[in-house]
Amino acid sequence: MLDFERQLVATLTDVDDPGLRARVAGFVEASLHAMPEHLRLGVLVQSVAFAAWTKIAPTDDLAGRLERSPIPLVRQHVRLFRSLVLFAEQELATTA
């Protein structure tokens, strides 16, 4: 995962337990790695672009800013990460 993606995952993760946070991040990383190559490439390109954008216009509400974007592609990007984080948080907490 890129640093920007790690930051996004950390922002989206709600749980406090450091062990569970690490397992959630691990699941997201493994899922991104398992994606079809062309889809992963698209996500990477978007992440690089959004990382550059947040350097130019820093924000304390990274996920919120992306989710409120009028551009569907931007919202889909954060939705992908939110879905992976949410599923992992609920499922891994159950099996912890």
Binding site: A30, P36, E67, P72, L86, F87, E91, T95
Partner: protein
């Protein structure tokens, strides 16, 4: 490695093919890209994160590109998608068999013929209804339908209910036809990805396949498999991709015409707990086959995802998720008039999948969402979260009208688990890549025998149609190939 019949893929089509041919005395080798996973492993619960990471291709993170994109899931393990699906059993509707036979000039596709094959498989697979009352999540569908005067049906499943197994045991391919094939002498090679089919010089016969097997220690070895006959049974995405990687185009039809059931969801909150361990067996058949309403997996992770799809205010989301034991996920799936495409990309493992819904499809999805909402309110739901980004959380019937305009191409979250029709069957070479029994045009000994052959999406869970057609085609092969 040498074999008489090479079967690539071990899902509903591949396992059926392998079992029938092996039991007829043919020397069969099954090559499966995914691993063998013990179907009785108690640490892998149905629809869990463990199942997703061990049995799903790409951990379940695939999508057909389009506006909107459509997320889809495929199994990738011995048994294929039968290991991860709901196990619902719907015979191919007779009127569809008749329509397809005429439109695609399919020989030997009469409803009575198909029914006889389906009946045999139903015996093999212990197709049956739940012996006791269905779970509440399923009964709620029936309750809503009764109040609205709509037809609903409890469908049977490929489940066995032996003493001590009240919940039943799903009769997946890893439990049934793969072991049958092995008992009849077939060989199974898991963790082995076929990269390319090989041909003779004039490209009229397949000579075998090249494959890469992953050993238990993670190292790999390249294999060359020689075969007299090859059945490609990798499903509607992987089968055309393998054929394309092997420069086999089926006269331009391979990978064209992909069909799927676009599915829109609602997380429904009830004033009482709902079960979460199973998938409802009832389906609303009032609008079938063009629109089907049913229930989805509803573990806590699925509930969270479905709630988040509506992008509700944080307080509403947290409140509903805290109450997740009262929430279940339901869906409306349509038969789409659009068609997609599968295209192998040189150098990449995964093919590009595209699917562009028509305006009519979007309208049908909106109608499906509203009907699903009506049903769930009638069943007693108190709060509905649609899988539409920013979609209104509905609490009363009159609020449902807001969803008509909410379902658009930029905010609607769709998924599917039913993919078909990427190498359609029939005698009309302008519309189909394979003949009436799955033989690829231009080759004497190359067959497809999986969901790819269905000429269109059936509007119901396709496993029964896939297995019925696979049995029919395997027996035709035995009858015509010494």
């Amino acid at each position: 490695m040498r074999t008489e019949v090479l079967v690539i893929g071990s899902g509903a089509g591949g396992a059926t093919t392998a079992a029938v041919l092996a039991e007829a005395g043919r020397h069969v080798t099954i090559v499966e890209e995914g691993p063998w996973v013990d179907p009785d492993d108690p640490t892998i619960e149905p629809f869990s994160i463990q199942e997703m990471t061990t049995k799903y291709r790409h951990h379940g993170s695939s999508a057909a590109l389009g506006t909107p994109p459509i997320a889809y899931a495929e199994g990738r393990c011995v048994g294929g998608s039968t290991e991860v699906n709901s196990g619902l059993w719907h015979r191919l509707p007779e009127h569809l068999a008749e329509e397809w036979a005429e439109a695609y000039a399919i020989d030997g596709f009469e409803p009575a013929t198909l029914a006889a094959y389906a009946e045999r498989i139903e015996g093999w697979q212990s197709v049956s209804k739940v012996p006791a009352a269905p779970p509440l999540s399923s009964a709620l569908l029936e309750r809503g339908a009764t109040k609205l005067g709509w037809r609903s049906t409890e469908f049977p499943r490929v489940f066995r209910y032996d003493a001590g197994h009240q919940r039943g045991v799903k009769q997946t391919m890893a439990r049934t036809l793969v072991p049958r094939a092995l008992a009849a002498g077939a060989q199974l090679v898991p963790d082995c990805r076929v990269t390319k089919l090989t041909t003779n010089d004039d490209r009229t016969r397949i000579t075998g396949a090249r494959a890469r097997r992953t050993r238990n220690d993670g190292t790999t070895e390249d294999l060359t498999i020689e075969a007299d006959h090859v059945f490609v049974c990798g499903g509607a995405i992987q089968t055309p991709a393998l054929l394309q990687r092997s420069r086999i185009r089926g006269r331009g039809q391979v990978g064209k015409g992909l069909k799927l059931h676009p599915t829109i969801k609602i997380a429904a909150r009830f004033p009482h707990p709902v079960d979460h361990g199973d998938v409802p067996m009832h389906r609303i058949t009032e609008f079938a086959p063009n629109l089907t309403i049913g229930g989805s997996a509803s573990r806590k992770g699925h509930v969270a995802l479905a709630l988040a799809d509506a992008a509700p205010p944080r307080t509403d989301f947290d409140d509903a998720l805290d109450d997740w034991e009262n929430v279940a996920v339901y869906y409306a799936a349509i038969r789409s008039e659009a068609a997609g495409r599968v295209q192998a990309i040189p150098g990449l493992e995964a093919p590009l999948v595209t699917y562009r819904l028509t305006d009519g499809d979007m309208s049908r999805l909106a109608r499906g969402l509203v009907h699903l909402g009506e049903l769930l309110l009638a069943a007693g739901a108190t709060e509905l979260f649609p899988s539409v980004d920013g979609g209104t959380i509905v609490r009363r019937h009159d609020e449902l009208t807001r969803w008509w305009d909410a379902v658009d191409r930029t905010r609607t979250n769709l998924m599917t688990v039913h993919l078909t029709s990427s190498v359609r069957m029939g005698e009309d070479a302008r519309r189909s890549g394979a003949d009436s029994f799955g033989r690829i045009r231009g080759f004497d000994n190359l067959y497809v025998n999986d969901a790819s052959l269905l000429p269109d999406a059936p509007g119901v869970n396709p496993q029964a149609a896939i297995m019925t057609i696979a049995l029919r085609n395997a027996e035709h092969f035995l009858a015509t190939t010494p």
